[in-house]
Symmetry: C2
Subunit: 337 residues, 2 copies
C-alpha cells in the first residue's frame, strides 16, 4: 500500500485545510502520515470520526519553515521542520512520496540534501503538466532552478522524456525548447547554447524551438525552459484563465438576453473551465531526486490536496522515479563541458 | 502633418497586404512614405484610385532583410534594405516615425546604428501595451534585448515610466518587477540584483515584485522583465486567447441548446475577444532610440497595419520620445557599476 508523507504544516490556508485534504483522500487504498506539530494535528483530527481517519497516522515534527525564509539557511537551522522530517521518511523507506504545499525552496533543499540527486543530474526541475486541445503536456522547470545553464536544460529534456513515457504513458514524446522565435539560432545566449545539445541528443525526440503561443496549443509534449521563465509561464496561464472567466461572467451580466444565453450554454462554459484549468492537476514532481517529492501550490485547498495525494499515489505506482534513476545511472553524456 | 516611413517589404503576408494597410490609413491627416522596391509598389498601387492613395508616396529601397537573417550581418550587407532606408528617413527628418512588420532584430539594429541610442541608455526595449480589467498596461522588454543585465532592467523601468506618462497619460504609473515570487529576495540572480536598484530609485513608483498571474490582472501599470521572458509572456497571452476562443466555440457546437445560448449571448462573447486581444494594439515602440521606431507583428494584416500607422501618428503627436531624450540627457544615475 502506498504511504504518503504529508507536510501538514505547509500551505497558505493553514494546517486545518491540509488535514482536511488528507482526510478526504481516504478510501483510496493508501496511508497518509501527517507530519507536523503532534498536539495541533491530533486536536484537529478529533473533528473527524474513526472511519474518516482510518488511513491517517501522525509523525511529530516540532518546527515549520515559513514561505519567506531563505531555504538553505532554514534547512540548517530547522532540522526538525515538517518538510525536512517528511522528506526523511521517504529517505528511510518509511514513506514512498513526500507531498507539501509549503515553501518550494525548502522542499527542494530538503530533497537535494536528504534524498540526494540522481547520478548525472546537476539540478532538479519541477515538472508541471497541463491540459491542451492536444492532450496533457509537460512543462519544466516550473521554478525549481531559476538560474540554469545549458547542461541543466539538457538534463531537464532527458528527464522529462523518461518521466513522460513512464508516468504519463506518452509514446516517444516530442521536446520543444522554449524560445523567442522558431528559427534554430534564436534566443538568449543560454538558449542558443542549449539548442545544439538537444538537437544532437538522439535519446530525445527534439522538435526544435517553440514560442510562447505554442504552449497552450500543445504543439509539443514537453516544453523545456529555465525555472524563472517556467514559473512565470505557469502563473500567467493560471492568471489569464481567472481573468477570462471573470470578464465573461461580467459581460453576461450586462444584458438580460445575455443572461438567458449564458444559462442555456452553461455546460459549454463550465467545460472550458476544466479544459483550461492549469492548476487542477494537484502535485508537480521534483524530477532529479533519489526519491519522489511532489510540490503543491501554496494556495491549495483541501480538495486540491486530496488530488495531490492521489497524484502522489499514481506517481509512486508508475515507477517513474526508478526508471529515471536507472536511466541516468547508465548514461554519462549529460554534462557537456 | 505626421509623416510615416512605412516598410512596405516587411511582414509575413507580403507587400500587397502592407500596401493595403497603408492605403486604409488614409483620411487621417497623415502622410505615408512606402519604402521598398519601387516597381513592385507602384504596380500594386495601380489597384487603388487617386483619392484612396492621395496620402501615399514611394521611396525606393532595393533590398530586403528576411526574417531568418542574422540582423547584424544583414545590416552590414544590405545598406539599401527597406527597413534601413526607412529608418534613415527618420534620422534625416524626412519622416517622423518608422513602422515595420519585418524582422524585429533588423529593425532594432537599424534603430541602434542609424538613429542611435538615447544618452544613458545601454539597450533599447520593445514596450508593448495590452488590455486588462484595470485598463491598458505596459510590458517591456518584449523581445528586443534577450540577454539583459540589471542596468538594462533599471533603465527599462525608468523609460517606461516616462513613456507611460507621456504617451498613455498614466498618472504616476506603478512599476512591477516580474519575478517568481512576491517576496523581495526572490528570483534569479539578475532579478535579485535588479530589485534594490528599482526600490531605491525615487524617479519611479516601484510596487515590488509581481508574478505571472498579476500581468493579465493589471496589478501594476508597468511590468519590467528581460526580452526573453517578455517575448514568451506576450506570445503566450496571444496563444492562450486563441485556444480559449476556439475551445469555447467547439464546446458550443456540441449541443443544440448550447448553440441557442451562444447566439443569445454572442455580444458578451464578442466583447471578451477585444477585452483580451493582446495583439490588437498594432505597433509597439522601440524605446531608447533618438527617433521613433514602431514594431508590428510579422503576421499583421492590412487592418492591423492601418492601426499601427494610426498608433505611430499618436506616438509622434504625444511627443513621448522628446520627453525621453530630455529626461535621460539630464539624468546620470542609470548605470550602477
Amino acid at each position: 500500500m502506498v504511504k504518503i508523507a504529508f507536510d501538514a504544516m505547509g500551505g497558505d490556508l493553514g494546517y486545518q485545510e491540509m488535514i482536511k485534504g488528507a482526510v478526504l483522500a481516504g478510501g483510496n487504498d493508501l496511508e497518509v502520515i501527517l507530519v507536523g506539530e503532534e498536539n495541533l494535528i491530533s486536536t484537529e483530527l478529533k473533528k473527524y470520526n474513526d472511519e474518516e481517519k482510518s488511513h491517517i497516522s501522525i509523525y511529530h515534527a516540532s518546527q515549520i519553515i515559513e514561505m519567506d525564509e531563505e531555504p538553505a539557511t532554514a534547512y540548517k537551522a530547522k532540522r526538525d521542520a515538517s518538510i525536512i522530517v517528511a522528506t526523511r521518511l521517504v529517505k528511510e523507506g518509511k514513506a514512498d512520496v513526500v507531498i507539501s504545499a509549503g515553501s518550494t525552496g525548502a522542499q527542494m533543499t530538503a530533497g537535494i540534501f536528504v534524498l540526494g540527486r540522481i547520478k548525472n543530474i546537476n539540478r532538479p526541475a519541477i515538472a508541471t503538466y497541463y491540459p491542451t486541445p492536444n492532450g496533457v503536456k509537460i512543462l519544466l522547470d516550473a521554478g525549481s532552478t531559476p538560474d540554469c545553464d545549458k547542461d541543466n536544460l539538457h538534463q531537464f529534456a532527458v528527464m522529462a522524456s523518461v518521466f513522460g513515457k513512464s508516468y504519463l504513458k506518452m509514446q516517444n514524446p516530442s521536446v520543444g525548447l522554449l524560445n523567442i522565435g522558431s528559427e534554430d539560432k534564436k534566443g538568449s545566449i543560454l538558449y542558443k547554447e542549449t539548442f545544439p545539445l538537444l538537437k544532437e541528443d538522439n535519446r530525445i525526440n527534439f522538435y526544435g524551438n517553440v514560442e510562447g503561443r505554442d504552449i497552450p496549443k500543445g504543439i509539443v509534449d514537453i516544453v523545456v525552459c529555465d525555472g524563472f521563465v517556467g514559473n512565470v509561464v505557469l502563473k500567467l496561464m493560471e492568471g489569464i484563465t481567472t481573468v477570462f472567466v471573470k470578464q465573461i461572467k461580467d459581460n453576461i451580466k450586462e444584458k438580460f438576453i445575455y443572461k438567458i444565453g449564458g444559462l442555456l450554454s452553461k455546460g459549454a462554459f463550465d467545460k472550458i473551465k476544466s479544459q483550461m484549468d492549469y492548476s487542477e492537476y494537484g502535485g508537480a514532481p521534483l524530477l532529479g531526486l533519489k526519491g519522489i517529492s511532489m510540490i503543491s501550490h501554496g494556495s491549495s485547498d483541501a480538495r486540491t490536496m486530496k488530488n495531490a495525494i492521489l497524484a502522489g499515489k499514481r506517481a509512486v505506482e508508475s515507477g517513474f522515479n526508478k526508471d529515471l534513476i536507472k536511466y541516468f545511472e547508465e548514461t554519462n553524456i549529460v554534462n557537456n563541458d
